[in-house]
Amino acid sequence: MSLIEKKEQAFQSVVFKLGNDLYCMDIFRVNEIIRLREITPIPRSSAHVKGLINLRGKTIPVVDLKVRMNLDPSCELDDNSRIIVVDTPHGSVGIIVDAVKEVATIYPENIDTSSLLLSDDSSQHLLGVTRKNENVISILNLDKALSAV
């Protein structure tokens, strides 16, 4: 549904890295971007749930989309790693990313949805792909990527 919405007009998005690939999400979904902080792991929870963080007195779950989307998880957390806190109907959730690059405007005429026809796992979580300079940026379908397994 948001795909149709987005096709109609240009929107601003936050571009970030997962592994070596670039992804982006609608800037209006982003609540804040914070540095990595202590994450309390939850034993016996799903693999993509990294644990909980204390964000100003609220506990917020942090998920690893790389695990969720079956991407190469080898990239280690470092100084560039960030947590993007997004709002969802189910409350706030933090997404671990390997770096936040920039805010980019995405034009609907540049969105290529043909790759969505591929039925591989990771493309299910995308709205499409776009190009910026030499780079390919995948547009994340946030709700789908976050929906419980």
Partner: protein, 553 residues
């Protein structure tokens, strides 16, 4: 334009809210009427119907108002003693209440009252041969005035989300207070003097105020349990009629208050137990007579406060539960072995009722007895941190006892360490904390046992369960470990930790949607240090371990 639309929805909310309350009164009073016709009851019903008519007319819901108008007409006949209350009349009145409830749902969904009210209107009209003059019924009723004068306290409707928000803010305040007192403790080690003393006093005062504040907000979120109990007379009446039984319902303690979040969840389990009592507990009138009991069975529901819990008893004077039957049933259903059935205590056998796939009714009835009920009842109660127990005596009756915390938001917790991480164990389950030596643990048939007060109790290694670590990690350098003895369905079980880190009042935060169901963890909390600690769901954890142990056997 949009402005007037907005206003309309605002009134609609109010209308829905008030109508629901009025309909509840209507139903309760109609049921009372059935027992005893008194002018007082008639007056109450009449007033509720009258209010409903007025407000639905104002909103332009014609079907709604025509039903209420006919109810009013019928009631007026009763009031003027032109008609006498019969079961037929109360049945019709009740089904008209059902129609109104249905209509309310339609209004909530569509915003208009598109509903075929003809049938019910005709039914209501059939009792009154001639229609009475409208103006007569619109006269203000006397008791309305006297009641208004009697109303001493003033009330105000507050949006629930606003109260929830205040509650959240208070929770954060509580966390900060704990933090500040920790900082003060650190400071007082490095400094001394009047400033530190003043700080101490201020923090103490702050603690009292935040405690009071918390208390008051909690109280504002409390609602009397009557809001649930009010549904029961109707259920009992309908079900008893259907099954051909005579059942009297006695309710007490309906004014006992508890948090509305708890209230929302316990309604269905209570209803299920009640249905069970009518269906399986109370015998048919003939059977009862043969046993020398009164033809009419009694079900009592009592609610009361006990410390920070609410206790609800559901007592029937029916046939009781045959423990032998339960055992043999469990054996045929392959839930337990013959051997373990013999060893089982009566209490343990009774708890088999709560196992999934168990049903003692020989026939599957529409009401209950599909074997899916009681296990869901128990798991719902446990989710709330509550406990369910039952007592039974053949031909005397059965008592279900529910113990449910007043609020879900705050609990007292014991902080324990497992694999260098702090966990919270809810206090209400804890029996005792002991320190034991490695050589005091005996291994019998692959199970670790400790003899506690001359009784062997099973031990569960939290380290192993949560992290799959080696048991050896649990011991300190003196080969000792701390064991928290908890109550699991009436049996003591030892949880082995690496140490006790203190006790604290903790604010429970649910894990939420994204973490999914995590077995053995019921939520999280923020400690005074700002660190997050997970809260252990003792029931779930022990149950998991027990089944995995039993399977190994």
């Amino acid at each position: 334009m949009t402005n007037s639309d907005f206003d309309m929805t605002q009134y609609l909310d109010l209308f829905m809210q008030e109508s629901r309350e009025q309909l509840e009164t209507l139903e309760t009073e109609i049921l009372n009427l059935e027992k005893k016709t008194s002018q007082d009851h008639l007056q109450l019903i009449f007033r509720a119907a009258h209010n409903l008519k007025g407000s639905s007319r104002a909103m332009g819901f014609t079907h709604f108002s025509s039903i209420t108008h006919e109810i009013e007409n019928l009631l007026d006949k009763l009031r003027c003693k032109e008609l006498v209350v019969t079961t037929e009349i109360t049945d019709t009145l009740l089904s008209s209440v059902d129609s109104l409830n249905q209509l309310l749902k339609i209004i909530a969904k569509t915003g208009n009252d598109d509903f075929d009210s003809n049938e019910i209107v005709k039914k209501l009209q059939s009792f009154s041969s001639h229609r009475i003059d409208e103006k007569q019924t619109d006269l203000p009723l006397k008791p309305n005035h006297t009641e208004k004068i009697l109303e001493g306290t003033q009330t105000l409707r507050v949006d629930i989300s606003r109260l929830d928000h205040i509650m959240n803010l208070v929770e954060e305040l509580v966390i900060d207070r704990t933090k500040i007192s920790q900082i003060k403790q650190n400071l007082s080690q490095a400094f001394s003097g009047s400033d530190i003393n003043n700080l101490s006093k201020t923090i103490d005062h702050l603690a009292i105020i935040t405690g009071d504040l918390q208390d008051q907000i909690m109280r504002a979120r409390m609602m009397p349990i009557d809001t649930i109990f009010n549904r029961f007379p109707r259920v009992v009446r309908d079900l008893a009629n259907k099954l051909g039984k005579e059942v009297k319902l006695e309710v007490s303690g309906g004014d006992t208050e508890l948090d509305r979040s708890v209230l929302e969840v316990i309604g269905d389990p209570l209803l299920h137990i009640l249905r069970n009592s009518i269906d399986h507990g109370i015998e048919t009138p003939d059977e009862r007579e043969k046993k020398g009991k009164s033809r009419e069975g009694t079900i009592q529901i009592h609610a009361k406060h006990q410390e920070k819990s609410i206790i609800i008893d559901i007592i029937d004077n029916g046939k009781g539960i045959d423990i032998k039957k339960i055992k043999s049933k469990a054996i045929t259903k392959n839930l337990i072995s013959q051997e373990s059935a013999e060893k089982m205590s009566d209490n343990e056998a009774l708890h088999l009722l709560f196992t999934s796939g168990f049903s003692t009714a020989t026939e599957v009835s529409e009401v209950s007895g599909r074997g899916v009920g009681m296990d869901i009842v128990r798991s719902n109660i446990q989710k709330l941190g509550g406990v369910i127990d039952l007592n039974t005596e053949l031909d005397i009756g059965t008592t279900f006892t529910l113990k449910i915390p007043l609020t879900l938001a705050i609990i007292r917790g014991l902080l324990v360490t497992v694999s260098q991480t702090t966990y919270v164990l809810p206090f209400e389950y804890i029996i005792e904390i002991i320190v034991i030596k490695k050589n005091q643990i005996q291994n019998i048939c692959g199970k670790d046992i400790y003899v506690f007060r001359e009784k062997p109790i099973s031990l569960i290694w939290l380290n192993k369960v949560l992290y799959d670590n080696d048991k050896e990690h649990s011991f300190d350098k003196h080969d000792q470990c701390s064991v928290v003895i908890v109550n699991y369905l009436g049996n003591p079980i030892g949880l082995i930790t690496e140490g006790i880190a203190g006790e604290q009042e903790v604010v429970i935060k649910p894990l939420g949607y994204f973490c999914g169901e995590v077995p053995g963890i019921s939520g999280s909390t923020i400690l005074g240090s700002g660190n997050i600690a997970l809260i252990i769901d003792i029931n779930h954890l022990v149950r998991d371990q027990k089944t995995s142990i039993d399977l190994k056997e």
